[in-house]
């Protein structure tokens, strides 16, 4: 599998829910086409360096994923058709990548940063663990 990263700009002046829905839609497309999502990053509304479709600002979203070669073509086709997307760019990070390995690396990184962040309140990791279990129970 190849490791890709797509950065795209959504129109400003939409609500937070709409942004989340848009990003979820593209995550869904990735999953439907046998892609493995490694990370999604919402940068929020930022000033653009130049006008894009007469917009001064835009909402940046980053998708980090692994997939086969046809995956980016499908994702970019959808992005192109969407009026709310101002611009997009896909970068190939690696030709051969193991998604499981990448996911593990991210987990390790968050595990390292979490103890440092939760030094003051040690009770925090437990509630979050319980929260994750609840949806499974239902």
């Amino acid at each position: 599998m190849r490791h890709y990263e797509t950065l795209f700009i959504i129109k400003p002046n939409l609500s937070d829910d709409e942004y989340k829905n848009i990003v979820q839609k593209y995550n869904g497309i990735l999953e439907k086409n046998k892609g493995v999502i490694i990370k999604t990053d919402l940068w929020g509304v930022q000033r653009l360096a130049y006008l894009v479709r007469k917009e001064e600002k835009g909402f940046y979203a980053l998708l980090d994923y692994c997939g086969l070669s046809g995956l980016t073509a499908e994702l970019e086709r959808e992005l192109k058709l969407d009026d709310r997307i101002l611009n997009y760019q896909t970068i190939k990070i690696a030709d051969k990548a193991d998604p499981a390995e990448l996911l593990r690396q991210i987990q390790e990184r968050t595990a390292k940063s979490e103890p440092a962040a939760t030094d003051e309140s040690q009770g925090q990791p437990d509630p979050s663990a319980k929260m994750k279990e609840v949806p499974h129970g239902n």
Partner: protein, 82 residues
């Protein structure tokens, strides 16, 4: 001739080190606008190697990074004429 040239260049000569070679922890990333801005002029042009002191390898990587950042509107191609 050679002596002459040396004399003329002496006052300006300063040894430049590629900062990416000196510090291997620095990664050139098109998403890291703040550090890329360091290698562009106020107008948005890429600063040449002879001024920034980068080595050829890292200047090439940097150029690609700046171009990618420009494409996705993180960096300007140019600024408007004031």
């Amino acid at each position: 001739m050679a002596i002459n040239q040396n004399k003329r260049r002496m006052p300006f000569h300063r040894r430049k080190i590629c900062r990416f070679c000196a510090d291997s922890s620095l990664v050139i990333d098109y998403k890291d606008v703040r550090s890329l801005r360091f290698f562009t002029t106020e107008r948005g042009k890429i600063i040449p190697r002879r001024i920034s002191g980068n080595c050829a390898k890292h200047q090439r990587v940097l150029t690609v990074a700046v171009e990618r950042a420009r494409k996705i509107a993180l960096l300007p191609y140019t600024t408007a004429v004031v």
